[in-house]
Amino acid sequence: MPDLHEISLIVNGVVREVTVPARRLLSDCLRHDLGLTGTHVGCEHGVCGACTILLDGEPARSCLTLAVTAAGHEITTVEGLAGDDGPSAVQRAFRECHGLQCGFCTPGFLCTATALLRENPAPTDEEVVEGLSGNLCRCTGYQNIVKSVHRAAELLAEES
């Protein structure tokens, strides 16, 4: 039996203590050990983007990060995007613009778009496409997803 590691992760603002083998992927740690199944797992080699979370505020692939590497760091998953008063502007924009169908890819898109708009509150079409280029969606079609990000930018501007 390989060594187990006791680590603490700050997930969506809450300190979570968890015991994992070193090989535990952050994606599996979130889903299996912490029960946060909002983070989806598609390809497990970095290509699809479904598992994208925010690591210290920056989007990262949780399937390409070991939980032990993330120890002590802040993680935001899709479950942490909504505020006390309901879904975030990015989430509302995706709903309004039909930015999702089956929803499998959506947690990754939401996390990626949230960070994108934080860094660049009024992105051009090109910047949105470049920013989302690492996320695959198999059903919505990207038009509505791009539209959702622009709409989220509007909502954020109105609310600030």
């Binding site: 390989p2 060594d3 090989r23 690591l55 280029s133 690492g134």
Partner: protein, 279 residues
């Protein structure tokens, strides 16, 4: 798809990291950004007994101007290097290449030095280091050596880094006077590894005549293929033909060998034209 089990080490200083690497030798692997190694672990294409995670090692993330160039530390992520003012002013080719490396999210974690050590024949940064004649600094307990790019890239996914060694930084020479650069490539989808790609470096003399012209080609050999085309300059069509004669592309599911050769010719002409215009 889960990584096989391994013993995990998380040193917090370079000394500790080197001590662990010396102890585990050929049974150990360094974990930097994990953007190449973790896919290999997930697919069970790699199964090291020991993983030495350098993400907590202090002092490895520096990106600093040095006389004649810029030095990039082992924990400098692609994204940080892309944003670095020191890099932008010393050597624009690094930024031109980084924009073509994967997607922004991957660039948040992947490291420049990790990409060099990984030595993927389709990767952009090894071509940049080879074209510029840069070097990688390898440390082991009590000693250090600088390996020139031409000796560093040994073969596909094989660099000169030996068991027990940590690549601590890479040095990229600065752009010379009246010198231009360009990096162009063709990939199936934006952000994918390129089917072919060419980096070019063109230097002019005071009269504006081409003094030197060189390209580095990716995805068409076991390591980046550097070709000096100063003799053909400024006939970039002839230069492209000379490049096509030197490469040894192989076919795979993404592109046939002939197609890669064709692409490399077109891209070489384009890159040289852009670099000359930029000089």
């Amino acid at each position: 798809m889960k990584p096989p089990p391994f013993d995990y080490h998380a040193p917090t200083s370079i000394e500790q990291a080197l001590a662990v690497l010396a102890e585990v030798g050929a049974h150990g692997k360094v974990l930097a950004g994990g953007q190449s190694l973790i896919p290999l672990l997930n697919m069970r294409l790699a199964a090291p007994d020991h993983l030495v995670d350098i993400n907590r090692v202090a002092g490895l993330d520096a990106v600093e101007a040095e006389p004649g160039g810029v030095r990039v530390g082992a924990l400098a992520r692609h994204a940080a290097v892309e944003r670095s003012a020191a890099v932008r002013s010393a050597q624009p080719l690094i930024g031109q290449a980084l924009r073509l490396v994967a997607h922004p999210v991957i660039r948040n974690r992947g490291t420049v030095v990790g990409s060099l050590v990984h030595a993927d024949p389709s990767a952009e940064l090894p071509a940049v280091l080879a074209l510029l004649g840069g070097s990688v600094r390898l440390a082991r307990v009590d000693t250090e050596r600088d390996v020139a790019a031409e000796d560093f890239f040994v073969g596909p996914l094989e660099s000169a880094t030996e068991p027990g060694e940590l690549a601590v930084s890479a040095f990229f020479p600065a752009l010379g006077r009246r010198t231009g650069t360009a990096f162009v490539e063709v990939a199936r989808r934006h952000g994918d590894f390129a089917m072919a790609g060419v980096a070019a470096l063109v230097g002019l003399d005071d009269e504006g005549a081409v003094m030197s012209a060189r390209v580095a080609c990716i995805s068409v050999g076991p390591a980046p293929v550097v070709v000096d085309v100063s003799a053909q300059a400024p006939d970039w069509k002839a230069a492209a033909r000379a490049v096509q004669d030197r490469i040894e592309p192989e076919g795979d599911i993404h592109a046939t060998a002939d197609y890669r050769r064709h692409l490399t010719g077109v891209l070489a002409e384009r890159a040289l034209t852009q670099a000359a215009a930029d000089a």
